[in-house]
């Protein structure tokens, strides 16, 4: 275990720690809301894992500054259509070259995680809806108690 290794990986380890905390809450807790909270933390930590991958030391966010992006300031919204398409491409290339001087972090993990976050909130909403129903039907959201009630039946 070298020091570079440590500094190169400790980010990941903390993320792993966060993930496992979330995972622990999910599997150890019998309260349903707590379980959902655990899932949330688990998922956020996975998002962190991905985002960490995309980062480049010294990089910036993958948004090309307006000056470089090839459009005069403030005309973003309507500029593309008015240009001749070839011109656009030329512009774009020229500025892509400019852009290359700046280091950008990888945008793909961000994109994936946008999707994952959305999936996560969808799951949370569904889970909470189910909890509301269960709570109405059973009068509790403690899994132990519910199992006991079902067994008695």
């Amino acid at each position: 275990m070298t020091l570079t290794e440590f500094f190169g990986l400790y980010n990941y380890w903390i993320v792993v720690f966060l993930m496992m905390t979330g995972f622990y809450i999910v599997i150890a807790r019998r309260n349903m809301i707590k379980t959902v909270i655990g899932l949330n933390i688990f998922q956020v930590s996975v998002v962190l894992l991905y985002v960490t991958m995309g980062k480049v030391t010294g990089g910036t966010a993958p948004i090309i500054p307006p000056g470089i992006a090839g459009h005069s300031d403030g005309e973003h919204a309507s500029s593309h259509g008015s240009h001749d398409a070839h011109e656009v491409v030329d512009h774009a290339h020229q500025h892509a070259a400019d852009a290359a001087e700046i280091i950008y972090s990888n945008p793909l993990p961000s994109v994936l995680m946008l999707t994952a976050i959305v999936v996560g909130i969808a799951t949370t909403a569904l889970a909470l809806a189910l909890i509301v129903r269960i709570s109405e039907d059973y009068g509790t959201i403690e899994e132990d108690e519910i199992l006991l009630m079902d067994r008695r039946q």
Binding site: T4, F7, G8, L9, N11, Y12, W13, I14, V16, L18, M19, M20, F23, Y24, I25, R29, R30, N31, I33, K34, N40, V44, V47, L48, V51, T52, G54, V56, T57, A61, P62, I63, I64, A69, H76, A85, V89, H91, H95, A99, I103, N106, P107, L108, P109, V111, M113, L114, T115, I117, V118, I121, A125, L126, L128, A129, L130, R133, S135, D144
Partner: protein
């Protein structure tokens, strides 16, 4: 560096706090804080879009949803009787596996890792001509290169919406009774 270390430390502390706290209301609040801290770190990691979304979703929507649920259910978690040994063991094994797995990973911020080099030209360079100079590469990726994933994402949201309606919408009272009586009639 200092900022990120402190944020990471805070994240870890918050996570432990959530795991240990018995009051659900507080746990939800801490979850919001966790998301918010996470979002801040994402910002540092050059992912403003994700940070924005995480803040809106984690610290916003899901907190509100959970609070709403709490209002309908109850705020106290009952202490569990089951021993934490088994979950701890599972988590320990999983965590150890993951740590083991990180050992061969490219280091943090490595410019020559496969993630950065496999796609050449990278999305940033490629998207400029492809997208006719769209500044936010993430949007281009989201909408076009991986537009199909986003369609799936929309479908997921749609599914969740429909599902919540199905699960929670109250049926009009008279229909409910009609159903229960009508069923008996039909089975004959």
């Amino acid at each position: 560096m200092l900022v990120s270390v402190s944020i990471l430390t805070l994240l870890a502390v918050t996570a432990i706090a959530i795991a240990r706290i018995g009051d659900l209301w507080a746990a939800v609040m801490f979850t919001g804080i966790f998301s918010f801290l996470g979002a801040s770190w994402m910002l540092i990691l050059d992912a403003p879009d994700v940070a924005f979304t995480e803040a809106a979703v984690g610290a916003g929507i899901s907190t509100v949803l959970m609070l709403g649920t709490l209002a309908l259910t109850g705020k106290k978690e009952k202490p569990t009787k089951s021993s934490p040994i088994v979950p701890l063991f599972v988590v320990g094994v999983t965590g150890a596996a993951l740590i083991y797995g990180t050992l061969d990973m490219p280091h943090f911020g490595d410019r020559h890792s496969p993630v950065q080099t496999r796609i050449d030209p990278g999305f940033v360079e490629k998207s400029q001509p492809d997208m006719h100079g769209l500044p936010n590469v993430v949007t281009g990726l989201l909408g076009s290169y991986r537009g199909y994933d986003t369609l799936g994402e929309t479908a997921v949201i749609f599914t969740a919406g429909i599902a919540v309606i199905l699960i929670l919408r109250r049926e009009p009272k008279e229909k409910e009774t009609e159903r229960s009586t009508g069923k008996k009639g039909k089975s004959l």
